[in-house]
């Protein structure tokens, strides 16, 4: 599996990563070898095999519709890199 520079940059954009020239080069090689390793899976015929999301069969884990107290706002905001005490501050979003 050949991974092009454009592909690396496209995936980085999806993942919100800025890559240096060097990182891009390195990732091209690394992804090529790791994805190439994963291509081994194609040796197996999986036609009609149901994909497994959980190794242990599970279903219907629910919560009752009962109110629990919310956290104090200062606890929610305590770890925020930028806050005015009301919310999380971010650079202006143009919608």
């Amino acid at each position: 599996m050949k991974i092009s520079k454009e592909e690396v940059l496209h995936v980085a954009k999806l993942a919100r990563l800025n890559l240096t020239q060097e990182e891009t080069q390195r990732l091209m090689a690394d992804m090529e070898s790791i994805i190439g390793f994963a291509d081994k899976l194609n040796e197996l015929d999986t036609d009609g095999v149901v994909p497994t999301a959980h190794a242990i069969p599970m279903q219907n884990a629910f919560r009752e519709d009962e109110i629990k107290e919310s956290y104090p706002r200062e606890e929610i905001l305590k770890n925020a890199p930028s806050t005015d005490g009301d919310g999380f501050l971010i650079p202006k979003v143009v919608e």
């Binding site: 919100r16 899976l41 994909p51 959980h54 190794a55 305590k78 890199p81």
Partner: protein, 483 residues
């Protein structure tokens, strides 16, 4: 013998019998940390004052007769388990200052049981690695040879127990992150069945594979800790609602008639001769105890590692998307706008290995590749699980090496990610299958480095796995590291 050298169950019993106080046990562990931490570097955060205060409080509780099952036993938690008001970093720059406003369920349970939290221990960044070298803060050393890695990702959890810097610890295991470091550091580590221990408050790497488990000085400690942390948690939808037996009581040491399968695929190329020999010697010991073992085959084993890397990286790419400099943790200083804030923060906050996995996972989920990689891996997962199910129709447990080699040198495998990934070759299929597995030391190589053996069980049959390990443990002479 110093107090710090005792096992956790010995400490528990002595405290209960009022032979020592929790404060003494805690002081001894802290003294040991002072003595060897320079060399081992297993802790990210040591909670000296807090631990002493907690120990004193527990001693008071014991005096008034209100003590939990593990009252007074000092322990350490991997730094990806949330501790209320206490740094929880995942050994990442991204969370260098994160103090969660809540406890993980395991934290809560261990505190309720009366344990004393000595500190938070080092790990590969976001649990991605097999050597604890990807930690942003420090490189933890193998107590048996400080030029070697302790394994990973729970390298701090394994090293601190091996070095007697904690009586036990918790680690998390996504593809071998408890068992491989346990093997390399000569301690006992167990990954329970997926769904046995709540993941609430465990900072996720790969949600469908992650599971918390103990790292301990012996099998009894392991069973004792598992008794406390296992059980249904309504906060974790994937936590299973079944009653578990008393694991400690299950340790009878009687393995007469135990049917052991030995999958030949685990003894192929890449497995060192020392390891193979030690595992076979251990099997003979078990046979001498009345078990019977048979060579058998798990033909799909070689597909477990590629399937694992696709599934775990895909889930990680999504789980780690929330780290963006808005709500908690690190935020880049310079950025042009919102998108640049995201990109800069994530580029500066994550290390190379984490970025590599995010890239692979994003790729595997992206439009056009989902079926070829992610879905394919989930289908292969089904096939591997079927392999296991079939094997367990014949065998009670499966026995394999825990790591292809003993501890490797620091820096030895950092340049080639694939070579590093191979360190998990013996452990990942267990996560793919959601099975319980324990690793205990079964010998030492020529240079005195520990060799681990892995015992894999049926889903929710931890009791059999623990008892098999307990029986084997009695036949092994353990050697403490010389620090």
């Amino acid at each position: 013998m110093d107090i710090y050298q005792l096992t956790a169950h010995e400490i528990r019993d002595m405290i209960k019998e009022k032979k020592i106080s929790s404060k003494e046990a805690t002081q001894s562990a802290l003294a040991r940390i002072h003595a060897v931490e320079d060399k081992v570097e297993s802790y990210v955060t040591v909670l000296e004052e807090e631990a002493l205060a907690q120990a004193e409080a527990i001693d008071a509780n014991i005096a008034s007769g209100e003590a939990g099952a593990l009252a007074g036993v000092p322990m350490a938690l991997k730094d990806n388990m949330c501790t209320k008001g206490i740094l929880t970093t995942c050994s990442s720059k991204m969370l260098y200052n994160f103090k969660p406003p809540y406890n993980a369920t395991v934290t809560e349970k261990l505190l309720e049981a009366g344990t004393v939290l000595l500190g938070k221990v080092n790990m590969d960044e976001f649990a991605m690695g097999s050597s604890t070298e990807t930690s942003h803060f420090k490189k933890t050393k193998n107590p048996y040879d400080i030029t070697k890695v302790p394994g990973g990702s729970s390298g701090g959890s394994a090293a601190c127990v091996a070095a007697d810097e904690a009586y036990f610890s918790l680690g998390s295991d996504t593809g071998g992150s408890i068992r491989q470091p346990a093997s390399l550091c000569g301690c006992v580590g167990m990954k329970p069945t997926y769904g046995s221990v709540s993941r609430y408050g465990l900072i996720a790497f790969a949600s469908s594979l992650d599971q918390i488990g103990p790292l301990a000085k012996d099998v009894t400690d392991c069973a004792m800790v598992l008794n406390q942390i296992a059980g249904h948690d309504p906060k974790d939808s994937t936590s299973v609602n079944i009653q578990h037996p008393d694991f400690e009581k299950a340790l009878t040491g009687d393995i007469k008639g135990l049917k052991i399968g030995v999958p030949k695929e685990y003894f192929g190329a890449g497995i060192s001769g020392d390891v193979s020999a030690a595992v076979h010697a251990a099997l003979d010991n078990m046979k001498a105890e009345g078990a019977q073992y048979t060579d058998m085959s798990l033909p799909l084993n070689e597909y477990a590692l590629p399937a694992y890397y696709m599934i775990s990286s895909a889930e990680a790419s999504s789980n780690l998307a929330r780290f963006d400099g808005v709500k908690y943790g690190f935020r880049a200083e310079k950025f042009d706008d919102l998108i640049d804030l995201y990109c800069q923060t994530r580029s500066e906050g994550f290390g190379a290995e984490v970025k590599r996995r995010i890239m692979i996972g994003t790729y595997a989920l992206s439009s056009g590749y989902y079926d070829a990689y992610y879905k394919k891996a989930q289908q292969v997962r089904t096939m591997i699980m079927n392999d296991f199910t079939k094997a367990f129709e014949t065998y009670d447990v499966l026995v394999t090496p825990a790591s292809p080699t003993t501890a490797f040198g620091i820096g030895e495998k950092t340049s080639d990610p694939l070579q590093m990934y191979m360190a998990d070759i013996c452990t990942v299929s267990v996560n793919i299958g959601g099975l319980p597995a324990i690793v205990i030391p079964c010998g030492y190589d020529a240079s005195g480095l520990p060799i681990g053996i892995q015992i894999i069980g049926k889903p929710f049959d931890e009791a059999t796995v623990l008892n098999a390990a307990f029986a084997l443990e009695k036949t092994i002479t353990k050697v403490k590291p010389n620090l």
